[in-house]
Symmetry: C2
């Protein structure tokens, strides 16, 4: 089946590019879409059938579409906006929405897709660029059995692990959002702890060494505080991504009338960092909201 | 040397008992002190020279004392209070203070010990009861070269890893306090995330599975949320321990005039849990501050 399976990945950022390359590596006929021509060229050189700024020219050939754009507004614009893709897709085509979006947006998108008889999988991803390129993303997905079946070749190609949360659209998004709550707070508290250590005169490399060998460790502490030690705030994932994602966490909790003492504080910290001009720096730059400390300088 | 090395461990809780047993296993002549006669009997059966409610009867024989009591007040009471131990120790005896205390308290204790010509190592520990019993605690220590040398047989016996933070008393305590900042916030945010997932209708075992295989994981999430899944809030480490430890974090930051947006919120969460009657339950019971959710019941 996979030799004749036709998929288009829309959004060739770090995750989308990795996913598209993994589809190519798995032998799927793969198309790419991005507004950046350089990304399109890179994917064509990697073996894509074609790549450009719109999927409409090859929409009729597709079995599936994977969306890895930034947010729900972009998903909606691509599928249903000006030059909408949805009307050009064959009925029964499966749309895997892998952007981090709210549960409410996921439900709304599924309803609109259904009007065109298109299937949706609510399928956010995690793992970062390296895992995406290796075809080992974590996918947390909800949707119909049919949607899972139709997207199986893609899930096999891009995912190291697929969590089937349930059939209801929105569950996948919610799991991703709860995950982002943890990820965001872990980065912010890592920054808070290292800032306090700096203020107290503890050598930061020692502090890092202790924490990463003890019960206070987190995946994010270990990964992001290395950037602080290196004085390297070039964005692997930017502050503004967590302004967005913790905003989705906040929206989700508000719609459930549920309090979030820590996540709301962390959102405020990332928002402060963005407001201070660090929005496009690495998310570990949230440590720069703390005054009166000296951080390691980047080695030349 | 170790065959004739004489040490007394004061405070035979989960960490102290493990440390004392590790000293026995390493061939040190080991005494124990606790107000609980059952703990004393257990240590005697494990091979201690003797154990009782005071170290004064054998103080003259000791090369070193290890303190693993709950807080600075207990350390001060034992060393300098009624029936003070300090005046009974030979000059030059080394005192390893391994309770979690503030940097200010550590400095004050060191000064008072110096009046009796006693050496101090500011040596908080981490790792939990299992690592303590295995002689594999993490020790984060500061003190003079002489203090480190004199306590070397004990450090060899009880520690898997010893971090030498520096010579100044207070640095060891501060590193431990920054570590507890992370540990406490990680437990509280784990609870917040799982509570939100419960409210949103996500199966908690699925949520746990996703997080523990993704970038949102922390050591504390993985360890403590298993207690929530099991519905088992019997205390491995109690809510009130983090009321105390995050209180020390708060004291430390205030003395440095440094803000702690997340740790102050987490302290408030543990304090709320204690105030609601959960102070002696497992620290994962901080999740019980969230109303309107159904948590897993304990399997009979």
């Amino acid at each position: 089946m996979s030799a004749q399976y036709n998929v288009c990945v829309i959004g060739l950022g770090s995750m989308g590019m990795g996913a598209a390359q993994s589809c190519i590596n798995a032998g799927l006929n793969t198309w790419g879409v991005d507004i950046n021509p350089q990304s399109c060229n890179a994917l064509k050189q990697a073996g894509a059938k074609d790549a450009g700024h719109s999927a409409i020219p090859f929409a009729q050939q597709l079995d599936a579409v994977v969306l890895l754009v930034v947010n729900a507004a972009q998903v909606n614009a691509i599928l249903f906006g000006e030059d909408a893709l949805a009307p050009h897709l064959n009925p029964g085509t499966a749309v895997m929405v892998s952007s981090t979006i709210s549960s409410a947006d996921a439900c709304q998108i599924a309803e609109k897709l259904a009007e065109y008889h298109l299937l949706m999988l609510d399928a956010p991803v995690s793992g970062g660029a390296i895992k995406a390129a290796a075809g080992e993303m974590t996918v947390m997905a909800s949707g119909s059995v049919t949607a899972f079946e139709q997207l199986a070749p893609i899930l096999d190609a891009v995912a190291g692990k697929v969590y089937r949360i349930g059939e209801a659209i929105g569950l996948g998004s919610t799991v991703k959002i709860v995950h982002q709550l943890l990820a965001g707070v872990h980065i912010a508290v890592a920054a808070e702890a290292m800032a306090l250590a700096a203020k107290a005169g503890i050598p930061l490399d020692t502090m890092y060494d202790v924490v990463t060998h003890a019960a206070g460790n987190s995946w994010m502490f270990e990964n992001r505080m290395q950037h602080v030690l290196d004085g390297d705030f070039s964005p692997k994932s930017a502050v503004d991504i967590f302004v967005k994602d913790l905003g989705l966490v906040s929206d989700t909790a508000r719609s459930l009338k549920f309090p979030l003492p820590l996540a709301s504080t962390a959102l405020n910290m990332f928002t402060s960092a963005s407001n201070a001009g660090f929005g496009r720096e690495d998310d570990s730059a949230v440590i720069k909201i703390f005054s009166g400390i000296t951080l390691p300088e980047k080695k030349q």
